[in-house]
């Protein structure tokens, strides 16, 4: 009786704050619409390049010739999917080369180009003579993504160039066929980012909804003069917020489906994972609210938790590479379980991994128990 009354009271409190409710339901819609309508964003890196050719410079080598550099430049300019040519420069001597080189470094510094390629003075000669050909490139070393991808990406113009000039003897290359990728006709931005964005959004919104629920409730001390117990108060908050969470997760789930969610696995299991993530957010929010003395502290703690949960989600650093202690810390945060669960269900069509789901349940339980204990011993003045 007490509990149902308290839950009703909680709903009344949440309802009185209509704008929060609207925000909770409107923000996900806006974001899903934005990402759903965003095209592109596949896993392929794209390089904007400049090419310096020294092939026309005199070279001290047998069978002096040139001309292959133009073919290579044309291929980079017109025939490559992962490459675009910003500009090509023809160097005639060392002084000329130094000036062009400095210009290209400036272009690289200003991020106008991602890489510049230098074709040496014996480029054509080595091709004619069937000896090893050197291709020099300068890449922005601070751009990890470009640095990691450039060598493989360069195989595209090299392969096409070799085919074009008919020099395919001993040419070995690879041809990738992606498995479990998002098909190009689906919304790739939404679907590649879905696991991270959906779980972050649900967790963040619900943590925010609940992180002020105890600390900002003024009638709480007076309520404790009635027969209402502290565990009933916290339970009523948990129930009321869980109902709101179910509505919110349902909304995100339906909106994502409308805007092109690509899911190979069970939609029900995906929904279950999203619900579990949301529940985790509620428990973490209640914990923050229980340990905070003022709303300002609760807001600050919320921000710290949110930053920690995102940065230690495993999205930025591969968890497998970490020592055991760090793995334990990361595994005690919800996103390290939600993200793999969502990826496995949506992209691979795998059944739910109960170990991860149980971990989410365990994390939720731990936070709610800690919230209860803290609230139990919290002194409130009437």
């Amino acid at each position: 009786m007490y509990l149902s009354g308290l839950v009703k009271k909680e709903f009344g409190r949440i309802q009185s704050d209509k704008r929060t409710l609207i925000l909770i339901f409107v923000i996900p819609i806006i974001l899903i619409v934005i990402f759903g309508l965003t095209s592109g964003g596949g896993p392929t890196a794209y390089f904007n390049a400049a090419i310096i050719t020294r092939d026309k410079e005199p070279c001290d080598c047998y069978n002096s010739t040139d001309g292959y550099d133009d073919i290579f430049i044309d291929i980079v300019e017109d025939e490559c999917e992962a490459w675009g040519l910003f500009e090509d420069f023809e160097s005639e001597d060392d002084d000329d080369y130094d000036k062009i080189f400095d210009k290209c470094v400036e272009l690289l510094r200003d991020e106008i180009i991602d890489v510049f390629i230098i074709l040496p003075d014996d480029f054509s000669e080595t091709i004619i003579n069937d000896t090893d050909t050197e291709i020099i490139y300068y890449i922005d070393g601070s751009d990890q993504q470009a640095k990691d991808a450039v060598e493989v990406a360069l195989q595209e113009p090299i392969g096409k160039f070799r085919l074009e000039i008919g020099k395919t003897v001993n040419f070995t290359t690879m041809s990738p066929y992606l498995e479990y990728d998002v098909p190009f006709w689906e919304s790739q931005v939404l679907n590649y980012a879905f696991a991270l964005i959906a779980s972050m959004l649900i967790l963040g919104l619900l943590m925010n909804l609940t992180s002020l629920s105890i600390v900002s409730e003024k009638p709480l001390p007076r309520m404790l003069l009635t027969p209402t117990a502290k565990d009933e108060i916290i339970l009523s908050k948990l129930i009321a917020n869980t109902i709101i969470m179910i509505l919110q997760v349902t909304e995100i789930f339906v909106m994502s489906a409308i805007f092109g969610l690509y899911c190979l696995g069970s939609l029900f299991e995906l929904y279950l994972v999203l619900l579990m993530t949301g529940f985790c957010g509620i428990c973490m929010g209640l914990f923050i609210s229980a340990i905070s003395k003022t709303e300002q502290v609760a807001n600050q703690l919320y921000m710290m938790f949110f930053i920690t949960v995102i940065m230690f989600s495993g999205a930025f650093i591969n968890i497998e590479r970490l020592p055991l202690a760090m793995q334990i810390i990361i595994n005690s945060l919800p996103l390290s379980h939600s993200i793999p669960l969502i990826v496995n269900i949506t992209m691979k069509g795998l059944p739910i991994d109960y170990a991860h789901l149980a971990s989410l349940a365990l994390i939720s339980s731990a936070f709610i128990v800690m919230a209860y204990i803290t609230f139990r011993f919290k002194k409130v003045e009437v």
């Binding site: 070995t172 290359t173 003022t294 300002q296 497998e320 760090m326 496995n344 992209m347």
Partner: protein, 409 residues
Amino acid sequence: MAKSKTNNNWNSGTFFNRLKYSLWRIVRQVKKEFQLLKIDKMNLVIALLMPPGIIMLFAFMSTSASVTIPVKVSIVSYDSNTFVNQNNYSITTKWDNYTEKYLDAVEESELLELIEFYDASEAEDEYAMETARNEMRDGNIECIIVIPVEFSELLSTGYPGIIELIPDASDAVSIQDKLNAVQDSIKIFVEENDLDPEYILMQHEEFSIPSKYNFRYNYNMTILLPFMTFGISFVLTILVVVQEKPIARLLLTPVQKTEILISKYIVYSIVLALQVFLVLSVAIANGLYIAGNVIDLYLSLYMLGFAGVSLGMFISTVSNTKTEANQLYFAFFILIILLSGMFVPIDAMPDYLQNIAYMLPLSHGAPIIKGILSKGKSFIGFDFFWLLGISTVLIIISFLVMNRKRYEV
């Protein structure tokens, strides 16, 4: 009578006199603000000590994650199967002279770990591809390398030998690692077997982080530093105006609304200076490489934090209740984070969304910090002036709103 005389003294007189009294009032307000801050010690502790704590933990994690873990692969070879020449169907071959050699290259590569080799020409490996795909689906391997039936034939007769690669693309971030690892094995294969002429790629890096610094930590700091600085300064200020109850009574004294707001800006700018100093000190102590000037870095982070303070104060000024301030804060925060380029590259967004993203402060955080950290750029540039512009606009609006706001005593 005496009081009205005093009030006359405060509000009349020469411009310099008024300015002097105004400054005096601001100083007193600043003092009051600091006392308010001191009352809520926990708030101050969280604001000053938790961000450096998170950076230390992140530094430890990045440093310990520097070991390269090889990509787990299975190889399915069809090379020993019968190859039928497309130009003359009567010519069939079963050459597989390059299969073993490629296998050796895979085993030699430090970036690959061979889990299983299937020879699909053998009866027991007839369903090798299906087995391998199931293994990949279950996460036991990350990539399947397929040696096609014509691999040895084509290589032996002067045509390109193409190895097929099937990476698990469900984790978009790690696809490149898998491609790189297989490319490494091809490089070893070509070198070991003298498959000349080779195309040798000579890589040179500009603006790279020196080898004695941890690349992963430094790379991630270009994301974490702006995110952290903006976030903590933003959240610290969202309630400072809206939650202060004595403002209404304060306005009965000669204190002006603008003075109240100025004093708050001063106090939180000082707190921000300390926050940025602590965050930066801990980041440097943990091995942050700065190609540029540390003062430039400090000023850019400060500017980013100041944009956070301005946005927080703006929200606090326009809100009528704390709840409203909290709502607005979260709406802004989520939008700013998701459109900052941290999760989805801004270049991948449609034009209209890119325009919105570039208007938001955090989108300018990573470029300005990256420029200073790795390219030695100065803090002065488009990003800095954009942040300054956003802050100025927000401050002006906050003052206008504050002046029009009505308080009931």
